[in-house]
């Protein structure tokens, strides 16, 4: 079992979500994060004559836990759909997961991550 932590642009999220669903990955969590990085932010905020820059880099972090057999297709899908070509497209990290449980049934391991497509 592996956890894929993908930090992607806000603008690419809907595209990534739809593409993941298409390859059968439709179970994950995500949250918004602010980061520091390489993207050159050029903001034009001004307030009562004072121009200022928030230096925000807003991104969305996806947290996808998959069985080993689905790891490569998920990563490929993410790489393809979160791509824009500009500096600041984001990163994908892969973690090893020691164990996983489904709370409702108490299943453990791979079967807790398996979602029957004919449910």
């Amino acid at each position: 079992m592996k956890k894929i932590e993908a930090i992607i642009r806000m603008t690419q999220f809907e595209k990534v979500k739809a593409a993941l669903k298409e390859v059968g990955i439709d179970f994950f969590s995500y949250w918004d994060a602010t980061g520091v990085g390489n993207e050159i932010t050029k903001e034009e905020r001004s307030y009562r004559g004072t121009v200022y820059d928030t230096e925000y880099i807003p991104r969305r972090v996806l947290n996808i836990v998959v069985r080993d057999i689905n790891l490569q297709k998920t990563v490929d899908c993410l790489l393809k759909n979160a791509f824009t070509g500009e500096v600041g497209d984001g990163k994908i990290f892969v973690w090893n997961i020691d164990d996983s449980y489904r709370i409702r049934t108490g299943e453990r391991g791979d079967s807790s991550l398996y979602i029957d497509p004919n449910r």
Partner: protein
């Protein structure tokens, strides 16, 4: 089944018996007292039988005259009261502008200041402010002629009486007259407008206890003293009859009495408090601390513009004085010229963007600047006054923020202080002589420098200078004393956390997560 029968019988009763009985009853009653036909067009309603007379329908000339006079005063009183209610509504406008232009973590505190200043200031004004300001104003001409407000303390200088303050009417005692009460309501909401201006400039770091003391003092002492000098029959209004300076310091609806007073107190207070943490950097650069709710600020500005239609036209204290139409249009035109001027000035010359907060400031600046001259100038002059006021608001805000280095979150000093002064000086320039015969006891209409009376400008200048010096000095002393007593500024820890919880206990936006980055200043 039983239930159904009961319901059917009940329904039959209601449908048949009740209307029948009421028809019989009404025609029985009507048959006894009906003397008039229905009047849907309002043509016959209101006729000679409504004139109060010993013999209904046949009034004597005296009775007819009494009714006419009564109605005239009634129109004036109704007008003054209703416009007074509109001016009260400006409290909501100020509250929204100030809270919208400051940070969310202080929203509860800023709103509470604007609400509570109503209570505190009105109490101070009721307690002694009204007596000080109007205790010696004399007969209330348009509101029924009561002349019991006749105790003014004066000193004699250069052979003339210098009225300083009144001493009649503490807690409105001894003046239980409909005219006086009308005047009181109208004037107390004007005091409230002046009192709420400094809360904007001093927000986000002002201790609520210090503000509370200020709230009573401003309504009880600071505002009424200068107010007496201009509107209460005091020495500034008598510069005309005493020293032949025009009609004395003329201020129709309060550019100096209300707005410049508020602006000067705001300047002194904000200066004494010091800037918000993070506003200025060591290298003299300025940080932006953006307001958290621009929609609220804009709606507040519109509410203020609406309330100003009570502020200016109401100051005739007479619905029968038809100059109110000119006053209202002058107010309108000056406000829009102010809004346009400030917006285009920002767009073209300053930040290259049409800043909505400066739009708000420009609209209000136009209104402030026309407040003194609105009854005395023609509409083209009103437009010009508004145009200058919009630019003055923007440049004034920059001057205060960058040159004086006084942190004014909402631009109150530029909008109310600078434009209050401009409004009075503009009256001294543009008053065109079509109104104001007998103002402040001087015969002839009010004329400004461009219409042949340079002394009017001199009187206005003296009034403006007096306001700056005297209100500045009094508010400095008051704030210093309050500071010695309870302290004026909150601690740095409280200020960074946000005043809502430490000072008020109640969060402005409980349950809403705020962006922590918006609470510290952002700079280039």
């Amino acid at each position: 089944m039983k239930k159904k029968i009961i319901y059917i019988l009940l329904g039959a009763f209601c449908l048949l018996v009740v209307p029948a009985v009421s028809w019989m009853g009404s025609s029985a009653i009507a048959a006894e007292t009906k003397v008039r036909t229905e009047d849907p067009g309002g043509v016959t309603t209101g006729n000679i039988t409504d004139v109060t007379a010993a013999k209904a329908g046949e009034p004597t000339l005296t009775e007819l005259g009494n009714q006419v006079g009564h109605n005239k005063v009634a129109i004036n009183i109704i007008w003054t009261l209703i416009t007074g209610f509109l001016v009260f509504f400006m409290q909501a406008g100020f509250a929204m502008v100030e809270t919208g232009l400051t940070r969310a973590k202080n929203a509860s505190h800023t709103m509470a200041m604007n609400l509570f200043v109503y209570g505190l200031g009105v109490f101070g004004f009721w307690m002694c402010g009204f007596a000080i300001m109007f205790g010696g104003v004399g007969a209330l001409g348009t509101l029924g002629g009561f002349d019991g407000l006749n105790q003014e303390v004066s000193i004699n200088l250069f052979g003339h009486a210098f009225g300083l303050f009144g001493t009649k009417g503490f807690f409105l005692s001894g003046v239980y007259d409909v005219g006086v009460f009308t005047l009181f309501l109208f004037q107390v909401v004007f005091m409230d407008t002046a009192a709420t201006i400094p809360t904007g400039a001093m927000s986000e770091r002002w201790k609520f206890l210090s503000f509370t003391i200020y709230g009573v003092v401003v309504g009880a002492i600071i505002y009424p003293i200068f107010g007496n000098w201009v509107w209460g029959g005091g020495w500034l209004s008598q510069l005309g009859s005493n020293f032949h300076l025009g009609h004395g310091h003329v201020d129709f609806a309060g550019s100096s009495v209300v707005h410049m007073t508020g602006g000067v107190i705001a300047l002194v207070g904000a200066w004494i408090l010091g800037p918000r943490i993070g506003k200025y950097n060591k290298d003299r650069s300025v940080n932006a601390i953006p307001g958290h709710n621009i929609p609220m600020a804009v709606i507040g500005a519109i509410i203020l513009a609406f309330g100003w239609f009570g502020f200016n036209p109401g100051s005739t204290l007479a619905g029968c004085d038809l100059r109110i139409s000119v006053v209202a249009v002058n107010t309108l035109i000056a406000s829009i010229m102010g809004a346009m001027a400030s917006t285009f000035w920002m767009w073209i010359f300053r930040s290259k963007k049409p800043d909505p907060t400066m739009m708000v400031n420009g609209l209000l600046a136009g209104l402030v600047a026309i407040t003194a001259p609105c009854a005395f100038v023609n509409v083209q002059a009103a437009g010009f006054i508004g145009l200058v006021s919009g630019i003055l608001a923007v440049e004034g805000a920059f001057f205060v923020e960058r040159k004086l280095r006084v942190d004014d979150p909402v631009g109150a000093v530029a909008v109310h202080g600078f434009n209050g002064a401009w409004g009075c000086l503009a009256l001294g320039l543009f008053a065109d002589g079509t109104y104001g015969d007998g103002w402040n006891g001087v015969t002839g209409t009010v004329k400004g420098l461009f219409y042949g009376d340079a002394s009017q400008f001199a009187a206005e200048f003296i009034g403006v200078l007096t306001n700056f010096i005297v209100i500045g000095a009094i508010s400095y002393i008051v704030f210093k004393l309050i500071g010695l007593g309870v302290g004026n500024r909150v601690s740095a820890k409280t200020e960074m956390q946000g005043l809502d919880i430490p000072e008020m206990g109640v969060e402005g936006y409980a349950g809403i997560k705020m962006d922590k980055n918006s609470e510290t200043p952002l700079s280039r």
